[in-house]
């Protein structure tokens, strides 16, 4: 069989490293995995796109480097014992997918998938993930969330909000809150804003409350396939049995897991409900005239595309349309946007294991945002908001980090 002949397609979560043998041998060293797509480069300062290569300047941190490491491992050129450092290279990656985007566009190859399959191999063989990730996995297994929080705390954010209990009554639309917004009280406002906006628009909204479980995205990205598949199957059963027609998620990680990753599990049943990200759903409500906006917000803002929402799943325009629908808000764009967006640094387990690197990456994004003259950088992802927010707090001239719903709630016609 030659290089590009079609092979029987496997689902991602059953693929092994050897399935990428042809691809890794064919890495062309074109270096587009480290750089913005040529036509989009507007300045030298913001021309690179791989956060890890930008910081460390050596190839193993780049998509190309992972391809070469994968090739050597497949061919047995070195073993774990010869190269214990590899685990660091694998997990410094934020899984932002910039390498995959440009490599797919140019070389038709999959450096991010290769990195994720390498992670899965390392976890399977007991040499990965990073020690910090092991606590996260343990927490997901014991508490159904990565934050070591008891299940009973999951719906505390929702006190006083008239959201239906989807465990007990039939609802059209389920708000899948996600672990971070549910447990991190600095992010409760996002969940509260989202629920308020949906309720105000007349959405028949419910939630699973204490019965909601982790979508599995964090463990999938870390490479613990076994835990992810078990969680995903539980989730599919839970969500399908709830009878909901729509699921709205604020977290791009949950959104990607439910819309993309679950379909890549061999033998898993399909999720019956249609899944929306908040930005998509609110955009739809505005278009349908269901969201009562009044008042004005005089602000100059820039939009940060969360990688799993934008580059991975193509939700670029809905959040921008929402910002432009708010009277008085001026949207100014950064140089690196949409498919070429610079990652916040918080994804893929990088923040968990390499906080310093994650924060440096976030600071670089904030500096880029400042160059637009915006007062605030707006996004719609709990991990981006955590990581960018923490970095902004450490800067003397830090720019404000806001969630999309923070702006919207201010102009909502609420009595």
């Amino acid at each position: 069989m030659t290089y590009y002949e079609k092979k029987p397609e496997k689902k991602f979560f059953e693929k092994e490293l050897e399935d990428y043998r042809d691809s890794v041998w064919g890495c062309a060293r074109c270096n587009w995995c480290q750089n913005q797509w040529g036509w989009n480069v507007k300045s030298a300062e913001f021309s690179e796109i791989c956060p890890a290569f930008h910081e460390y300047r050596i190839f193993p941190y780049s998509g190309m480097g992972k391809m070469h490491i994968a090739r050597a491992i497949i061919e047995g050129d070195f073993d774990y014992d010869d190269a214990p450092e590899v685990v660091k290279f694998l997990y410094t990656c934020t899984t932002c997918g910039a390498c995959e985007m440009n490599c797919q566009r140019l070389q038709d190859k999959e450096p991010l998938q290769v990195n994720e399959v390498l992670r899965a191999r390392f976890v399977r063989d007991g040499v990965g993930p990073m020690p910090e990730h092991k606590n996260l996995i343990k927490s997901v297994k014991n508490y159904d969330n990565p934050w070591m929080q008891p299940r009973t705390q999951r719906d505390r954010w929702a006190k006083k909000l008239p959201i239906k209990d989807a465990n007990k009554e039939k609802v059209e639309t389920l708000f899948f809150v996600g672990c971070t917004s549910a447990f991190d009280n600095t992010q409760w406002h996002v969940a509260q804003n989202t629920a308020t906006i949906l309720l105000k628009s007349g959405v028949d909204l419910g939630m699973l409350g204490k019965n909601e479980i982790c979508c599995g995205s964090p463990v999938a990205r870390i490479g613990d396939r076994e835990t992810f598949i078990a969680l995903a199957k539980r989730n599919i059963e839970l969500l399908n049995s709830s009878g909901v027609k729509e699921i709205v998620s604020f977290c791009p990680g949950c959104f990607r897991a439910m819309t993309h990753d679950y379909k890549e599990i061999p033998g898993a049943p399909a999720l019956k409900a249609r899944v929306f990200h908040t930005a998509e759903y609110i955009d739809k409500l505005i278009t349908e005239g269901k969201l009562p906006i009044k008042g004005e917000l005089r602000m100059r803002v820039t939009w940060h595309d969360p990688c799993h929402l934008g580059r991975h799943l193509g939700i670029y325009d809905p959040p921008r349309r929402i910002l432009q629908a708010i009277p008085g808000v001026e949207l100014v764009e950064m140089e690196r946007i949409k498919d070429q967006s610079w990652c916040c640094g918080g994804g893929g387990g990088a923040r968990t294991a390499f906080m310093d690197f994650a924060q440096k990456t976030a600071t670089k994004r904030l500096r880029e945002a400042q160059k637009t003259g915006a007062q605030s950088i707006v996004t719609s992802c709990p991990f981006c908001e955590q990581n960018l927010g923490d970095a902004a707090g450490k800067m003397d001239d830090g720019i404000e980090v806001l969630d999309l719903t923070d702006l919207l709630i201010k102009v909502l016609d609420i009595d």
Partner: protein
Amino acid sequence: MNTTKQKVIQKKLPREVYNALKNVVGEQWIYEQRSVVETYSKLSIEGFSFIKKHNKDPHVLPACVVLPASTEETQAIVRICNRYQIPFIPFTNGQVFCNPTTPDPTLIIHLSRMNKIVRIDVDNMNATVQAYVDYGQLQAETMKRGLWNGGSPLATSLCKLGSQFAFAGLWQTDLKYGLLNRNVVSVKMVLPDGEILTTGSRCIPKAGDFWEYGPGPDLLGLQRSGIGTNGIVTEITLKLHPWVGDEAFPEVPGGRPSLRDVHEPKYDSPAAPLKNHKLYWIEYQDLESQIKAMIEIAHSGIAIGLNATGVYSAYYCSQTQDMTVERCKNKFFPPYNCYVILANITSDKQIEYEEKVLQQIVKEHGGTFLSESYKPEVLEALKPWNYDCIRHSTGYRMNRKMYANAWLPQGPFENAFKTSREWKKALELFGEVDITDRGGADDTPFVYALQRGHFCLFETDNYPDPTLPEEIMKAATYGMYGAAAFIRNDMGPMLMAFLNAEPFTTMFPEAGPNAHLFMRKIRKVFDPNSVASPGRQVFTEEEWQQFPKEIKTAVNKMRQMQGLTAVE
């Protein structure tokens, strides 16, 4: 992990060398871990490095990677290499000819930290950049100031300018602006013995960057296309030219892709070329009329770019490999075609005039412009060129599989026929590899009109399956046969590589006996310890003696097929 397979063990630097290097760059910027050196060992288009990988040859593994931040740090590293006789290889992207070739522990000097634009001198129209700055970065910064460097290479705008100087620097707009090495004002280099050389007028302190020849003799010329043998370029100053297009590339109307739909052709379809630029595609009935028309266009003085990319457009303009193969098979792109880039530099009437001249020449040679009424689907598919003709981004699609063996002869336009003829013979002799460039056997050979058509570059390549060593060897055979064929036909030197890179330098002494013997002498002076990029441009006697016998035999076989005597 399968541990039954044979491991490849790297050599390590002596500790005193490692410590000396660490003292120069700091612990953070020196690496000798096994996985790190792996990523500096298999190259993009160098077939032999793939063969060595298949053979588990440890000589492709460097011992250590070090990242200097300045010319002075590079100098200190090179001096350490001389002191301890450690071979070193400068490295940027690693696309070509940089692999370790010696059994010694080899040091990689990766220049990725030297990525700053030092200055853009608008008044005197030049820019100075560090070694890791690429074409796209320089273009982006200069276009905002109404200037540009004059082009970008087909191997994409990610090529580092310093690296390209070490070869030749081929651009799509060479017709007007010439090769990169015609646009260099000055280079700062660390020579193999650790001296710092500054060429051009800049070698006189505070004289400024304005004249590439300096006070003479022309040391810049000595360093051009040196492939790293004569030193490491750490800074390069380039001429800038007036830019009349947009300050930045407009958004493509099709929007931005996501990983869900990245292969949709609409994302590669700019509506039109940049402001004040036009791009024309012309189809001819046969190769002869095409080449004659190209000669007239080149000599008429119009246009900034004139090139025939032949089958390569199927790569550049196809979003997947499957689509590429399908288009090649179905001959989607016209067999004899070329493109012309016009730029409105002097006045609004310029393009109008140049269009008239172009139309007249095309008409006289029976050519047809692709248009909305003639093969519009082909014109639509060629839209990536609307932006690529200025900043090339899709070029390395040709290397999706593996780009091993290239014929890159230079010469007058009529050499297109010789290239085509020789390639047909090679196809008959050796058969096809996984994907074979027809190379003009039944369509346009690749032709780049350079420097107002004073000469051209022709190119043919093969794309073997990188997982199959026998296919790579077959592709390499094409390369050796081509080199011999061009010698036999008294054709000009190959551009960029091959006849100015070992083993071809030594194995084809007919290509430039005086030049190559002289370079061997020069190397003794510049590189008394033979530490700079060993085995790259010209072997020392010792390196030649150590060169694998089987490769000598293989090249000699090709020489004999062309009636040339064997080289001992």
